[in-house]
Symmetry: D2
Subunit: 345 residues, 4 copies
């Protein structure tokens, strides 16, 4: 940690900062120059926090040197993590192909979509039973009835399932049905929810918040990891910017960026990022070429009648066409996609 | 609602859209021009949602005309709402002056700060017992012990209290102690939390999310209002932008903007918005001059030893000086500040 | 154009708006509903501007229906534009591979880099002679001497060249040397510069501004096109967001987005977008997979001695490795890359 | 400057960095800890640039300690600058009240507006003769004819004038008419324009770019100052964010922030920042309370017929009412507003 003092510090100020550092059990290194005085401290930055030091009068800037996350970092775990969920591998060169409707609406619609996406090569089925809707007057999901339908569809078509959990009180219920928890962008810093999911041993798909930096995302992953749940899959789904022709702005640079900092797999969700079916295929391809560990896409057989997020869903035949393109790119990239039993693609 | 079709629609496309609108029980108005065909629908936009219409092939754009919130809107409630909490009025020309430490650390520290801010003219005491910290390794708050200390301080110094609630499971506990719930920026779209707080009859201070528009904020207020809790106080605390010399970017234009759209009071928190004590006084003054209904400021008697957010806290004497300035501005603005019993400022 | 009136308009307000529209030579269509009154006008939106209508008291919102650019739009020119510059095609399935140093520093360094990037498969050589530097004290470029070196290098290695023009007064000079003008992000709305470049018949590479929407970018292209210069190549180079671990945030969704709206080719610059050599290869691959028409990369043989933007440059051997990957992806995407005479890749 | 090496550097890497620093004429200070090795260099950061050091393999981070601007900084010039322009003082407690139409449209309209704003207490007259318009098809201004009208109005009503210059080639012309140059937000980093304006001795009003940090703004001021023109007035006019209900997001925290870093005066433009007359008065008041050195407001006597930016203009009587409020606030803030001869307010 580097502490930069304001110009022309008095000896008292310097002395006070040095004493504070020593009181915390560290050895300060003082360098006095013509323009600035700086104090370096090398040691465990967990015990030496930025904030109290920054509050000392006479301190201009405190620059932390170490990263604030540990279990999520490459320094802690050098190899890429690979998770295997009911036979589907994610990470380390294996791509998760997650597809399904935004919300679970009925058994017949979900089963129809599930069969089609599986046949197209999807290996994980998604569907929302608890829906975070901006308006209290919008459809809020089928709840446990939806979970039952999703679980049945997963078993019927041989796919592990992923569904969103929004409330710490739902974790006990959802864990009985799902293979993977989804934590939505709006809940990325719902720390109590992160802790509850962290106490289970069910993998978590953690979506990046709309204005979260890569560091924030890894800190939220750290909340889950610190509770003992080591299976966290990161997900980029777009951030909020001034660009108003897309729902959000997909930030694909987080893929190599997060993979450099962390061993955790990271997947890309072009559906929520763009909100536009005409842009989804290109962004899914770009995600694979950027080196991501999976693609999450909303598919609906009748978008204009969908109860949630219809306009951003691909039709099943559009998804099948896209999967053909993604397989070609995955091959060039040296990646594999586990397919479900009985499927030939 | 206005539906704009893509250029050169086929008669089938036009017919399909007209039929869908009629099937929903509305009367469409068709206007065909040289460049574009548009279809107007006038009626209750609750029943006529944008999304399914946007998913129809051939539709270029769907423009909603009505606002998606109701109970929060000026159209529903033309007069400014005024809430009275233990004798302190907020809204309608009355300013809430909320002050206190970021986190409750001990009885002695809190009581010392409470007395000083009350004497300076603060009329509501704040302090966090449950803290949303970016790092799982940071101090997470004293929990119920903190609530007890805060309640005792509020009683001792004659101030209503406000404290953050982060988890729907905490609502039953927190409601037994607090006079006002605080819902933090990270939880602005924690919809289950909003619903639980909405079921109580304790006022809620709802902070704007870091990337929430004014519309998003009012939609979150609507979640609380729709449950029957009509006492929602909005709070601007800065949004995330590219500017890196302040913690966030304080968007004061939301004050007149929200007051035009909504009857709910809105206060300003320059502490979290700037993260810099040198900027807080100017931004507090600007908030009052912009017409806000209160100012929320963190005060600590020893910022360099604070367990949370020390660097952004004002010292008690800085707060007292600022309150003198704010009272002068409030007077010019024709606003009043209820002071606590026995205080002469 | 749709004009939405505020709730409960008086007959006078309605009458005034109708008269204004008729005075402009258009026929208004009035629809009165319970909640809102709307007035539709179909016709040439060039003559009917949004702003004066929005200023009429009683008007809540004016919604334009047509796009404000013409020559840049797909509606004006349905086929993708293909430009051929000294034998190198851009657009319509042909990828421009632009490479070279940030700034031209000396003949020996430029010639060394030029040979290496050409051998790796680059087909256009870049280098800056006039540099837009944030600091007035930084190296500002070699000026005309730099242009001479760049032109000589282009001739020597058989590559067309691209270089930045910053000032309308430089256009006459730069046009004598360059094959393509580059207009930098900071000058995307330097309208006088756009007009001067528009008066030439030399192709222009127009970089997206740091906070420009796709619509803004196309409007700036329109400035050049409207002067008669029809060869505009768009370039995405990252936008400014809150993410602070990359220089900018690369918005690849603009690639399919712009290609849907416009016939102009669009290339991707991962060097300026990320500012980090460790992220450039992944983002270049993602750009090709997203369907862009070219990749712009800074290459330097000794980044630590570069006079400008060294840290973001790839080394020649890193560039060669990347080009191998990009060729494979281009093949999967059905794209071709014109190579220079005598080069076998 | 602090150089942080990547974990576990080899002795060769450390040696290479030390040699590079010594070759530049500086003395490095090496500190080796368990987790990181850091190298401190104290000295003139002009000669020791961040970029080449960051490009050295093995370097993780380079942290500059000194500010990159000098002439603009408080360290260079501790006292607040006060400029006097034809008897109107700006800075050091004196507020510039700039008002007038967006564009100069005709002598009669401008004279009518000028008289009204002067009588309301404005002390500087604005009007655009060269207009930066997003669309090439919009009204581009009257050019020199506009300048003549503006100058005549300034003389008639005893007010110094300010008008925008967009092109380095216009500087010689505009300087013959104007008392203050305006450099618009889109040209904040048009470095050749900054240099040309810097060569004159006419004060410059420099508007913050839409995605410029306070540091970027001060670096652009530095370009003008470095040429010898020491009269630069900064102007906040809103930045681009995700909020879509206002044209831009006014960042008032830049007022105390810039005043802490720099001696230059800073004014606030709520017209361009909000684009909404209903928000302008509140934001103008907030600007004064934040401590700014002036307010820039667009006023038009018939906004619905204005050729540019009509909807954001205040009517003259709205401006007069606002000026009454601003005078009261200025008094509380201990500020003065120079009024023009013969005016009683």
């Amino acid at each position: 940690m580097i502490i930069v003092l304001k110009p022309h510090p008095t000896p008292q100020v310097i002395q006070h900062v040095l004493e504070r550092i020593e009181a915390l059990g560290f050895t300060p290194h003082l360098s006095q120059g013509v323009s600035r005085t700086i104090i370096g401290v090398i040691g465990d930055e967990d015990k030496l926090q930025v904030e109290p030091l920054q509050a000392i009068p006479g301190v201009e800037q405190v620059v932390p040197i170490l990263k604030p996350y540990k279990l999520a970092s490459r320094e802690f775990h050098a190899e890429e993590s690979v998770f295997e969920i009911k036979g589907v591998r994610i990470g380390g060169g294996h791509l998760a192909m997650i597809a399904g409707p935004c919300a679970i609406e009925s058994e017949s619609i979900l089963f129809e979509i599930a069969e089609k996406v599986r046949d197209a090569g999807a290996n994980i089925l998604r569907g929302g039973a608890f829906k975070p809707r901006t308006s209290p007057y919008s459809f809020q999901g089928l709840g446990e009835d939806g979970l039952k339908i999703l679980k049945a569809a997963g078993e019927q078509f041989g796919m592990p399932i992923v569904t969103e959990v929004m409330d710490p009180r739902q974790v006990d219920l959802v864990v009985r049905y799902t293979d993977i928890f989804q934590i939505g962008a709006r809940n990325m810093q719902n720390f109590d929810l992160l802790k509850e999911v962290g106490k289970t041993r069910t993998p978590a798909l953690l979506k990046r918040g709309m204005s979260a930096t890569v560091k924030d995302l890894l800190m939220s992953a750290e909340y889950i990891l610190a509770q003992g749940n080591r299976q966290v899959i990161l997900c980029e789904r777009g951030v909020r910017t001034f660009e108003d022709s897309t729902r959000n702005t997909l930030d694909l640079s987080i893929v190599p960026n997060a993979k450099g900092l962390s061993h955790l797999p990271i997947i890309v969700d072009p559906s929520h990022a763009t909100g536009r079916p005409d842009l989804i295929p290109a962004m899914a391809r770009a995600g694979v070429a950027a080196g991501c560990d999976g693609i999450h896409i909303e598919v609906h057989s009748c978008p204009e009648k969908a109860l949630s997020d219809g306009p951003q869903a691909l039709l099943p035949h559009q998804y099948a066409k896209l999967m053909t393109e993604l397989r070609q790119l995955a091959e060039v990239m040296g990646r594999t996609i586990d397919v479900r039993e009985g499927v030939t693609v």
